[in-house]
Subunit: 359 residues, 2 copies
Amino acid sequence: MADLRAVIMAGGSGTRFWPLSRAGRAKQFLDIVSAKSMLEETVDRILPLFSPENIFTVAGSAQTKTIRKLLPGLPAGNTLVEPRARNTAPSLMLATARIYLDDPEAVVAALPADHLICDGKRFLKKLRAGAEIAARGDRIVTFGIPPTYPATGYGYIHYRDKDPLTRRGEAFYDVLAFKEKPALAKARRFLAAGGHVWNSGMFLWRADVFAGKLKNHAPEMVPFWERMLTALKRRNRSALQSIFDDIPSISIDYALMEKARGVYVCRGDFGWSDVGAWSSLAEIWPADSSGNTSRGETMILDASGCLVYNPRKLTALVGVRDLVVVDAGDVLLICPRDRDQEVRDIVQALGKTGRTEYL
Amino acid sequence: MADLRAVIMAGGSGTRFWPLSRAGRAKQFLDIVSAKSMLEETVDRILPLFSPENIFTVAGSAQTKTIRKLLPGLPAGNTLVEPRARNTAPSLMLATARIYLDDPEAVVAALPADHLICDGKRFLKKLRAGAEIAARGDRIVTFGIPPTYPATGYGYIHYRDKDPLTRRGEAFYDVLAFKEKPALAKARRFLAAGGHVWNSGMFLWRADVFAGKLKNHAPEMVPFWERMLTALKRRNRSALQSIFDDIPSISIDYALMEKARGVYVCRGDFGWSDVGAWSSLAEIWPADSSGNTSRGETMILDASGCLVYNPRKLTALVGVRDLVVVDAGDVLLICPRDRDQEVRDIVQALGKTGRTEYL
């Protein structure tokens, strides 16, 4: 088996789980899908395949403390710090460069810290097979989620639906194109056509292959890659800072994946959710016969379709429908399930009115 | 001016303000209409007319501690204790007997502890005039609230709408009948006919007149009255206990008012509410331009008609309509405004499932 390293992307911020998520306490640090944080779940999930010293995290300096607290079993030096948030390309370049200096032929598994995976065993089986595919040379492996509805909130991966590479019984299809988030009509066409999966943002590459693909498909990024290697070798933090000041803020999809050849996609049929907003938990937490689901004690009379997060007290619901109710200790949020995206507007409005203690 | 005594009926229990009201913390002890409890407001309102030593409360022993804590300015001996809850007739007989022993000609003002009165000055003017009417002999004075809609939740007082007694410019009309809570059609007829007001449960009587009317109209209660006088004279608590064990549980309206002659009603046009449930506060607390009203900080985006009691934290409402939201510290209640009566069902269900800590 190849030298396997995991890079857990734990730098996400975001307000869609406000009021539980706050500045410095983003989704990956919340215990919304289990009793542990999503970051801890992500690490636990891969431990059968990666020893702790081979698991890295990458995030901003504001998140370092939380990450170390949640993951005391990882070496402190594995908590990589982006000097500045610059989207996924710079962040994954930094992590891959760090690993490249150890072993250019190490296989890097880039994994988001805030995704739910139901069937961890199946996921690991595919990850192992994918790593072996990636270890064999000039290939990048990615995971695509079989779409269950014509989502407009995800990018799609279009693949050639025949003659896959196979490994350990898993199929890896030749990627034809990465597609940006589509309009609804286009998303429907993708589903009707078949051969399209959601882009999960999970990748496997050998560090030297990554470097090679940068050279071929993203030459404008190569000087930054070289500077990163030098700065990391010299442990020069101010050089890293200046690289991140200069580097464009760009996603790995846009910088590399959309242009690269030799990308293979594996169908990620292991039960996946990016847990995008409060209402997505309604499909994850167990529900009563009226579709109510809750974290915390409830007393329900003729209410249905409600999602309650209120672990510290009793929530009594009478005659209400399809509400999201979240008690975060100092803030109570109530909104209809189909309007949970507007939580962002609340956060924006609080910022504008100077009530920063709630942000 | 006659010897004036107030008896504040503070024994009410009730669950309509659950989860804020609990066993031993009924509506009259809540600060829902102002920064003070309704009991304190009731006492403050009458202080211009009654010195503290002439203000009595009557309630069960479970409430004594709370009452003394809220009303430290009243003599401890003025906190009269019903040995057992037996509705308003026994309770007012006890208080009137206590005052009768001081001064048979004292005028007793019997006032509920849990009513809101907006124009306290106007109320006091009518109370003073009513007391003078009651002081002049064989009369009982009561206050009736001009109905604003055909309520089915109140009893009505039918009066002869001419030739009132007048005192200090106030009119006191001869009562023709007390009517029990009517069905809607009947309530509509009362309003159309005129000469009907809501029974507010506020009364004025001279202690000796009360005793005389008991003899004439409620002779079955006279033995209890006599036993009360004896027990109070002897400070015999066990005798009081046994009286309350024996006495029927009956309202003063039913025991006496419905039968008595010489009852006069004054139109209580001083802005009154019995604050019957959470939604009634929507008309009492100031509202924003969308009809939202709250106790506690809010952040509201496209919500209307909501009533929020959550003094300790921020409540964020997005896109919801006509909800009652109450955070009582250990319990959160959410229900539509027009279903706030069903709070009783929640309380009942909690009792049945043994979750008594929330009752």
